[in-house]
Subunit: 461 residues, 2 copies
C-alpha cells in the first residue's frame, strides 16, 4: 500500500510511473541471478538522474529505510537481493552514453548503460570496451563496477577495475563525490576508484562512470584443442603461460560442461568423449599472430592433445565463442537447477584442484561441471542438482562451499569475478580472520556509517 | 640524548647498533629526495623483522610519538621527511628476498629490497620485475609501494599497483594484517592492496610484499626520433597511440633536457639543435616487432621527423636508455638546483600544455626542461634555478605549482608517480574539493586514527 514513505519516494522520482510498490510488481525484484534466497523489497524506484539518486539516498538515510542499488539484476552472488526489505534504487532508466573521446580513449556512461552496447556503438571506429562478462548483452556497466566484473577476454587486459578511469558516486547520506578526472589514469590520493570498484554496492551508488575504451587489435586468432585427460589440458594451460604467451582468453571446459554447451543454443559438434577442451585466443600485430599460434599448437602437442587447430575464418571463431558464452545458462539444458561457484587458485594447482573437485562431486553424489578462465586460475565449478529432490539444494550449497574451501586451502581465494554478496558470506572466513574483516567493515563505516545501504552483504558479522 | 623513549626503542630493536639518536647521525635523515624542507627526526631505528616493526609502532602509538617509515629516501615529494620530529622506522635492514615461485610468477620480498636487484636476480631465468622508476638501482620496493612508483617502461604493463599481489602491513597501533593471497590476483572484499599502494606511508607500514614477476618478451626494439618542433613530436606521440600500438615506453625530452643528458654521464651525441626527441620501445613476439617498428617510422615521417631510426643492436639500445635514465640527475650538470614536477594530462592536450609551460618559464624567468613519459601524458617539468640567487627557490616553487595548475585545468591531475607528500599538499585543492578530501582523511582515520603515522602529508588540513 501507498504509505507515507512511498508517497515521498514517488515525489522524488516525479510520479507513479517511476515507482513500484504493489506486491505483484515487486516479485521480479525478490532476487537477482542468485536465486536461492528471495526477499521482497519495500519498493522499487527508477530515478532519472544523479540528483534524484542523491535525494533518494538522503531520504532513505534520514528515515532509516534500508536501501540498495540494482542494475540489470544479473549478479550471481545475491548482491542486489533486498534481504532487509530494502527500497531498491533501479538504475535502468539512467542508461545514457554521455560522451566519447576517441582521441583520449574514454567514454562516459550512466550506470544503467548495457556493457555490450558500448562496444557495438564504437566498433565501427575500431574501438571496444574490454571487460566482457558472459552476461554482457544485458548486464550494466554500473553493475560491472559494483562487482568488479571479469570475463573470458580479461586475461590479457584485466578486469573492470583496470578499465575504470573515474566515477561519480552518491554516498549513502546523499552527498555526491567525484573520483578521478577526465579520462586519465589517476593516482592522486588514496585509490578510491579501486576501493569503490568491487565494493558490491556497500559504499555508495555509482551514477556516472568514465571507462577506458581500447583500440581493436590488428588481428586475432583462436585455437581449439581437445584433450583426453583433464590433467593434460591443465598442464597445457600452465605451459602456455610459462612460455611467456599472454593470450587474451584461455578458457577450459570439462566433459560435463561440453555436454551442456552442445545441448544448448549454439552446438558446434565438439566430440562427446573428450575430457577437456581449451579455447585460446591471441591478439596483436598481424605478423606476430602466426608465431603465437604455432607456439600454442606445439605446447598442446607435447601434452598429448587429441586434436588442435586454429579457426579457419571469422565465422568459425565466432561460432566457437558463441558456444562458449552460452556457458552457465547451457547447464540448464542438462540439469533442472545448478549453482555456479567462483574460486581462484594459483595456476600451478589446477590439476590437483580439479581432481579434488571431482572427489567432492563423488562425495555429495552431485555432478559438477567445470567451465572456466583457466589462464588466470579463475574456476567456475557448476554444481548440478534438482530442487524437487528434498535436501538436494542444501547439498549443492555444501558441495559448492567445499569447492571454495579447496581453492582457499591451496592458497587461492573464494571469488574471482562474481563477488561475495550473500552467497559466500560465510566463506569469507576461509580467507580472512576477524581482524582483517574488521579492517574492511571499518572502511565501510566511513562511507556507510548506519549500514542502511545494502546491509548483510560481503562481510559476515 | 638518550631519553627514556630512546632507551625503550633501543631495547625493541635489540641494541645500540640499530638506532641513531645523536644530532650528527640524524642529519642525513632530515629530508629525502625533496630537499627544500628539512627537519630532524627524533631518532632513526632499524628493525630486523615484522615483529620489531609492530612493537615500534605500538610503542610510538602508546606514547604519542609521531613516527614514519622510510625506505631508501629517494622519494621526490617529501613523503619521508620528519615534519614533526618523527621517529623514523628505516626498513633498510629488512631487505631479504623471501621466496620466488616461477611457476606461478611471483616473488615475496621484504620492504627494503632494492627494486633493480629483483630483475637482476631473476633475469637469467628469463623473468623481470616490471616497474622501473629511474632510481631503481637504489630505491626499495617498500618505497615503491608507498608512492605507487611508475617508470619509463610502465606504459604497457602498468605502474606498481598493477604488480602487487599481496601485502603484510603493520597498522599504526601495531596490529599486523595480511592482504591478498599466495600470489594470485585478489578481488575479494574491498581492494585494500590498491588502497595501501600509493597511500604515501599514511595508513600503515608494509613489511612484506608479494610482487608479480613477468616473463621477458621474446624481443624488444627501440626507436629514436629527432624533431625540429615540439608540436610535431607531440603529435607523433598521439598518432602512435591512436594507431593502436602500445609501446612499452614512449619517452620525450625537449631541448633543455637534451642539453642536460648530453652534459651528464652517458652522452650519446644527440644533435644540439633539435627541439624534441622521442624514445619509443616496443616488445613482443619477434615476428611482430618489425611491423610495429615500421608503423612507428611511418608515423614519425608524417610528422616531419628530422631523423628516425631503430637501434642497430642491444648495445646501442642500452646506451640510449642509460642516457635517458640519467634524466633528472643530469639536470644537475647544467643548473645548480632544480625542482622536478609531476603532472598528468590527457594525451591530446600535450601540444597546448607544453606551450603553456613555455609561457610560465618566460613569466618567471626560469628555464624549464621537459623530460617525461609522453605515452601516458605524465609530464615532468624540471624548473632550473639557483638557490644562491635570493628568492629564486620560491619563484621555482611557484613556477612548478603553476605548471601543475595547467595540468589540472586541462582535465589532468597533479601527480603521476612522485606522490603528493608535503610538496604538493596545497595543490591537492586544484583537483579535490573539501568534501572529497574529507572522504579520504576519513579513510585515513580508520587505519591511523590518532594521525601519529606520517602526519602532515598528502592532504591539506
Amino acid at each position: 500500500m501507498k504509505d507515507k514513505h512511498i508517497r515521498s519516494l514517488e515525489r522524488i522520482v516525479g510520479g507513479p510511473s517511476s515507482i513500484l510498490y504493489k506486491k505483484e510488481d515487486l516479485l521480479p525484484y525478490d532476487c537477482d541471478g542468485f536465486t536461492l534466497h528471495k526477499h521482497l523489497p519495500k519498493a522499487v524506484v527508477f530515478p532519472k538522474n544523479t540528483e534524484e539518486v542523491s535525494k533518494l539516498a538522503k531520504y532513505c538515510s534520514d528515515n532509516k529505510l534500508p536501501f540498495l542499488a540494482r542494475g540489470a539484476g544479473t549478479g550471481l552472488s545475491g548482491g542486489a537481493i533486498p534481504l532487509n526489505g530494502e527500497v531498491i534504487i533501479s538504475l535502468t532508466k539512467m542508461k545514457k552514453l554521455l560522451s566519447i573521446d576517441f582521441e583520449n580513449r574514454y567514454a562516459v556512461v550512466e550506470p544503467g548503460f548495457v556493457n555490450l552496447k558500448l562496444t557495438n556503438l564504437i566498433s565501427d571506429k575500431g574501438y571496444y570496451y574490454a571487460p566482457d562478462p558472459s552476461s554482457q548483452y544485458c548486464c550494466t556497466i554500473g553493475g560491472n563496477v559494483a562487482e568488479n566484473a571479469g570475463g573470458a577476454h580479461c586475461l590479457k587486459y584485466g578486469v573492470t577495475t583496470n578499465h575504470i578511469l573515474g566515477l561519480e558516486v552518491v554516498l549513502p547520506n546523499g552527498e555526491i563525490i567525484e573520483i578521478g578526472n577526465n579520462g586519465i589514469p589517476d593516482s592522486l590520493g588514496y585509490d578510491l576508484i579501486g576501493l569503490l570498484t568491487g565494493s558490491e554496492g556497500t559504499l555508495g551508488i555509482v551514477t556516472k562512470i568514465i571507462v577506458r575504451i581500447s583500440k581493436d587489435p590488428e588481428a586475432k586468432q583462436t585455437v581449439l584443442a581437445y584433450f583426453d585427460s583433464v590433467a593434460d589440458g591443465s598442464r597445457a594451460v600452465a605451459d602456455i603461460i610459462s612460455a611467456g604467451i599472454i593470450p587474451v582468453a584461455l578458457e577450459m571446459m570439462d566433459k560435463i560442461a561440453i555436454e551442456a554447451v552442445e545441448a544448448a543454443a549454439f552446438p558446434v559438434g565438439h566430440p562427446k568423449d573428450i575430457e577437456a577442451l581449451l579455447l585460446i585466443e591471441v591478439d596483436g600485430i598481424s605478423a606476430g599472430i602466426d608465431e603465437q599460434i604455432n607456439q600454442i599448437l606445439e605446447v598442446c602437442k607435447k601434452r598429448n592433445v587429441r586434436e588442435v587447430r586454429a579457426a579457419q575464418d571469422e565465422e568459425e571463431r565466432n561460432k566457437w565463442w558463441a558456444n562458449r558464452k552460452t556457458g552457465f545458462g547451457a547447464v540448464g539444458a542438462i540439469s533442472p537447477d545448478y549453482l555456479v561457484q567462483d574460486g581462484v587458485i594459483p595456476p600451478s594447482k589446477l590439476p590437483e584442484v580439479l581432481s579434488r573437485i571431482n572427489k567432492i562431486s563423488e562425495q555429495y553424489g552431485l555432478r559438477i561441471a567445470n567451465i572456466f578462465h583457466a589462464g588466470d586460475g579463475n574456476l567456475h565449478p557448476l554444481v548440478l542438482f534438482d530442487t524437487r529432490n528434498p535436501g538436494e539444494a542444501e547439498k549443492a550449497l555444501e558441495a559448492g562451499s567445499a569447492c571454495l574451501k579447496v581453492c582457499a586451502d591451496v592458497g587461492g581465494t573464494i571469488t574471482g569475478e562474481h563477488g561475495v554478496g550473500i552467497e559466500k558470506i560465510q566463506e569469507m572466513r576461509f580467507v580472512f580472520n576477524e581482524r582483517e574483516i574488521k579492517a574492511q567493515t571499518d572502511i565501510r563505516d566511513v562511507f556507510n556509517p548506519s549500514n542502511l545501504l545494502n546491509a548483510g552483504k560481503l562481510f559476515p558479522e
